[in-house]
Symmetry: C2
Subunit: 353 residues, 2 copies
């Protein structure tokens, strides 16, 4: 079958419709023509199913590939992903978000498509807002959202993006105010009172023991305990530190402290236990339930908190997700719009399509 | 025994020397006095081995701790690390780089110290030049360099820092120039020539097959092959692209391309195989030898390339090292001084002291 390259399409006559479209599900019918996208045409040309001409002259694969890479942004990457999916037996149709992919074995016009696949270059920074927007678009039509990231050596990593509803089973600790019990030192708080230290640590897995009698709290833990459990914190001179002063002091150490506290509080309020994720390079590691501190369970999530205007660098994103996977945790991103107090969560995980 | 707080020292008379210094190895003798560092004094006060007064008044642990945290930068963190090491049976002496630590079971004045331990806050950015400088200082006196990073919840992670000499066993590929064999597309190169594609991939694990006939090369691979193996690259119009033009084009996609190429070339020239480390969030994954591409071995190193003026953020550093450890690779940092072509390597790994 012979097609003609026109811009970013290759056009065929009616005769191509029965085989290419109705049997093999390539292209889209427009009037009495069949239009193939460039990735479809390059793929079929390589398999010698079609021939393509431009300005009356036949094109080899190499010529078409070079022309296509000029005509369409990220063509090479799209081709690599398209070919990979097709070779592994998926039916793929070019769509608004790059590709609509049908479930394995499922044929177009028979079953609905299952995935929206978005092709991304490792080199291109990815705005968080784009992920959230595309995820919402996919969810609205009940599709699964997939990112296909192509690295500099043209290897593909597929990530599934999911919306998360986090929920834990922890009850709040049974503690009340103990005057003079805690001091804000440089960038952490020490609780001197032995029974308060024990209650906070045992009932909520708050802090880390300094020794057998005293507990160290992080800034975000302390701020939350001041807010929700009337923790009384003093400065080194013994003067009480109210929440707003505390927050101001914390901001000097952590410019992103307000966002961190917002997400921390949201997680704790939902009955989850959030602890520092430093050893995993994340904001938090999160447990659904810590029944006893003598037997700390596996933490299920790693959570990073970002603003809605955050832009991911894909190498760092790849590292986060890979690390989370390697320690059998789910990599979750928390985001909030400036000025709103609602926190949204989505997770990214490598998937084998 | 009674000591007196003076600035950032607690001073004892001669009578304290036999027990505290000669038997338990605390403090330093100055004239007929024994001086304890604040961490030593706080530790001994908590264990009720000593008492401390300031301005004639006795200090409780809480008072001393608060005063010390004002008198010495990072006192809380140093105390946490000091206590941890002591509790686990190490003899520790305050030194120029925070602590000199003796081998397990080894006593000061009997065996030499083994580690230089540098205490760092998770929150404080760490200049690469500091790591290299401290590593050199430790190596000069044959000590091992250890970073003790204290996170916001006062957990300690110990990292060992080592200088690396990397060496591989790969012979250069047996390829020559093939005119018109490769095209620079957007941000990658396609080799159209089948036998060149096969030779590059099979003999040097260069590139990634586009299909059975053609090979895709990354920008850094292509530049290296132009430099060392006379690869001929053309642009889309067929005009040859020389190395300097190629580098300029690559810089548009990778601002750090020159450094990346310097390190890549150094690794390849040393007989190692460097491939993209994207899936691990690093610049390169590195193999000592790839005998056959039918059976790719485990890559032993992850390498990140940085300038000498680079500053690590410890959360990201923690993530890199943790990820490398979790996939059984060594996390190596390559660095070069601007204008010099020598690349130095050091690695960081979690250690259990």
């Amino acid at each position: 079958m012979k097609g003609v390259l026109q811009g970013d399409r290759v056009i065929f006559g009616t005769d191509a419709i029965p085989e290419l479209y109705e049997t093999l599900y390539y292209g889209r019918v427009r009037g009495d023509k069949l239009e193939l996208a460039l990735v479809e045409a390059a793929y079929l040309l390589d398999r010698e199913k079609i021939s393509v001409t431009a300005d009356g002259k036949p094109l080899g694969f190499r010529e078409l590939f070079i022309l296509a890479s000029q005509a369409q942004e990220l063509f090479e990457l799209k081709y690599i992903v398209y070919r990979d999916l097709r070779e592994r037996g998926y039916f793929v149709q070019p769509g608004v978000i790059d590709f609509r992919v049908f479930p394995r074995g499922g044929r177009p016009n028979v079953v609905p498509s299952r995935y929206f696949v978005h092709v991304i270059s490792e080199r291109k920074p990815l705005p968080l807002a784009d992920i959230v927007g595309n995820l919402q678009a996919a969810l609205n039509v009940r599709k699964e959202m997939v990112l296909a990231i192509v690295d500099e050596e043209s290897d593909i990593t597929y990530y599934g993006v999911k919306a998360n509803v986090l929920k834990g089973q922890m009850a709040p600790p049974d503690v009340g105010p103990v005057p003079g019990s805690a001091t804000l030192l440089e960038d952490r708080v020490v609780v001197w009172d032995r029974s308060l230290s024990e209650a906070l640590h045992a009932q909520g897995f708050y802090g880390n023991p300094l020794d057998e009698q005293r507990l160290q709290l992080s800034l975000v833990e302390s701020a939350y305990l001041i807010m929700r459990h009337k923790l009384e914190v003093a400065d080194r001179s013994g003067a009480p530190v109210a929440l707003d002063t505390f927050t101001e002091r914390a901001l000097a150490f952590e410019p992103d402290f307000k966002r961190k506290l917002l997400v921390y509080a949201d997680l704790r309020d939902k009955g989850l236990v959030a602890k520092t994720g430093f050893k995993f390079g994340s904001s938090f590691r999160v447990y659904e339930h810590v029944e006893s501190i003598a037997k700390i369970p596996h933490s299920r999530f790693l959570v990073d908190a970002h603003g809605f205007d955050y832009v991911f660098h894909l190498q760092a994103l790849s590292r986060s997700v890979r690390l989370a996977n390697s320690v059998r945790k789910e990599m979750v991103f928390a985001c909030d719009k400036d000025g709103e107090s609602t926190v949204r969560y989505f997770s990214l995980g490598r998937i084998k399509l």
